[in-house]
Amino acid sequence: MQFFYHFGKYFILLTKVFSKPEKSRIYYNQTLKELINLGVNSIGIVIIISAFTGAVITLQTAYNTENPFYPRYLIGLMARDTIILEFSSTMVGLILAGKIGSSIASEIGTMRITEQIDALEIMGVNSASYLILPKIIASVLFNPLLTMISIAVGVFGGWIAGTATGVVSSEDYIYGIQFAFIPFYVTYALIKTVFYAFIITSVSSYYGYFVRGGALEVGRSSTKAVVYSCILILLCDVILTQLILS
């Protein structure tokens, strides 16, 4: 029953979020702020994690495929496909759920318990739309770019690690990342990213928007926001993979 209660409440909130904005210009400015806050400020963590994970994927692939029958360029190919198909979309999605999901839930939650949301409502502002819509738009627009950056940095990190440790030559790795490349895999990763961006921002906003109590509850709602965003991202991954790649 609790599931249906939250499910219904979440969709009622979404109808409020997607209603006509009071003043488009204000929303436009808010969206630009959120692009910086949620998008640009996440580039650093995405680069660091993608570089190291790309390196580890390459090394793991190399050490687990030490077989004279396997050509060495397969290391590059496997690293590329792992990074594009799962890491840069789903893993980065999970990382962003932790970073921006908790930030959104605690920001909106704090606004709720300090009556700032009530102040917006009293002024006649649609607080749900004003606070949540710019975040959704910013993430849906910017997260695909983060995924592209992650793919590029991950593949580059793999090349650095592979050539520095000598498990694969530079030529083999570069040949591998170009071999049998299916461009649609990138489209698939970007489609998933858009869905994940929507899940992270809307679910986290939901938990922040309806928080009741004090600092402890804000902390709890922030944790819930991350946990449920992650679960929904993984569920969405299964569904989208089956729908798009089958």
Partner: protein
């Protein structure tokens, strides 16, 4: 005039407001008093429409506000200014941006006009040279005054104050109360104030309603309160030892 007509409000089977009826008048400070947990804030939030009531009606002039949809409520809300218990200033905005916010949302003023209006409102509450400070950089009393400046930015017809004196020293409390009184007279607003500060009650209570356990227990003025025989009201108003002695000795 704001009319509250037999309203009821419950949370999870616990009835917080029971059959409350009252009328609030223009140009006067209307006080809602009562102990913590008596239902004052719920009553105030029900009147402004932040909480939906279960039964009864709330009328702003002749409009049944409590039955309006969100879109129609918005039109009345633009005429409402509200001062929250914790000021509710936007943390990420400066003092000036906080006051400009409602002007940005609901007027087509130029940037210069908005700044001029914001400065007028800030000067009106005696906030000088603090335009570029953030709420966390100013004192509690200043935060309340900035919140009042934001509340009056759109020339409200209705002013609601939820415990404007909470967490303030007696002198700052007096300043805030004087400011609310001046604004009520200047803008001719219907002002409703939630308080349990007895100095405010005695000083400004042109109309007072006493809420006890979710019910309206008493209604009158600050002059009536001194001579009331209502036991619950006397227990609340003359709660401390000194006040009791003063009442017994009929010094007031």
């Amino acid at each position: 005039m704001i009319k509250v007509d037999h309203i009821w409000k419950s949370f999870d089977h616990q009835t917080v407001l029971k059959d409350i009826s009252v009328e609030f008048e223009k140009g006067k400070i209307n006080l809602i008093i009562g102990q913590s947990g008596s239902g004052k804030t719920v009553l105030l939030k029900s009147i402004v429409g932040l909480l939906d009531i279960d039964k009864g009606e709330i009328l702003f002039e002749d409009i049944v506000y409590s039955k309006l949809n969100f879109k129609k409520k918005k039109e009345i809300r633009k005429k409402i200014g509200m001062l929250f218990q914790g000021s509710a200033l936007f943390d990420s905005s400066t003092v000036e941006e906080n006051v400009i916010y409602p002007l940005n949302m609901f007027t087509n003023m130029s940037y210069e006009e908005k700044r001029e209006r914001a400065n007028f409102c800030l000067n009106r509450v005696n906030i000088l040279n603090a335009n570029h400070l953030y709420p966390s950089e100013i004192s509690g009393g200043m935060q309340k005054r900035v919140a009042i400046a934001r509340a009056i930015a759109l020339n409200p017809e209705y002013l609601f104050c939820d415990e404007p004196d909470s967490g303030l020293d007696p002198i700052t409390t007096l300043r805030i109360n004087n400011l609310i009184k001046e604004i009520t007279e200047e803008f001719n607003t219907i002002t409703i104030v939630n308080t349990h500060d007895m100095n405010s009650v005695m000083e400004f209570g042109e109309k007072i309603i006493f809420i006890h356990m979710g019910q309206k227990w008493w209604e009158g003025t600050n002059k009536d309160i001194l001579h009331s025989e209502n036991e619950k009201l006397n227990d609340f108003v003359f709660a401390n030892h000194m006040a009791k002695r003063v009442k017994q000795m009929k010094l007031i």
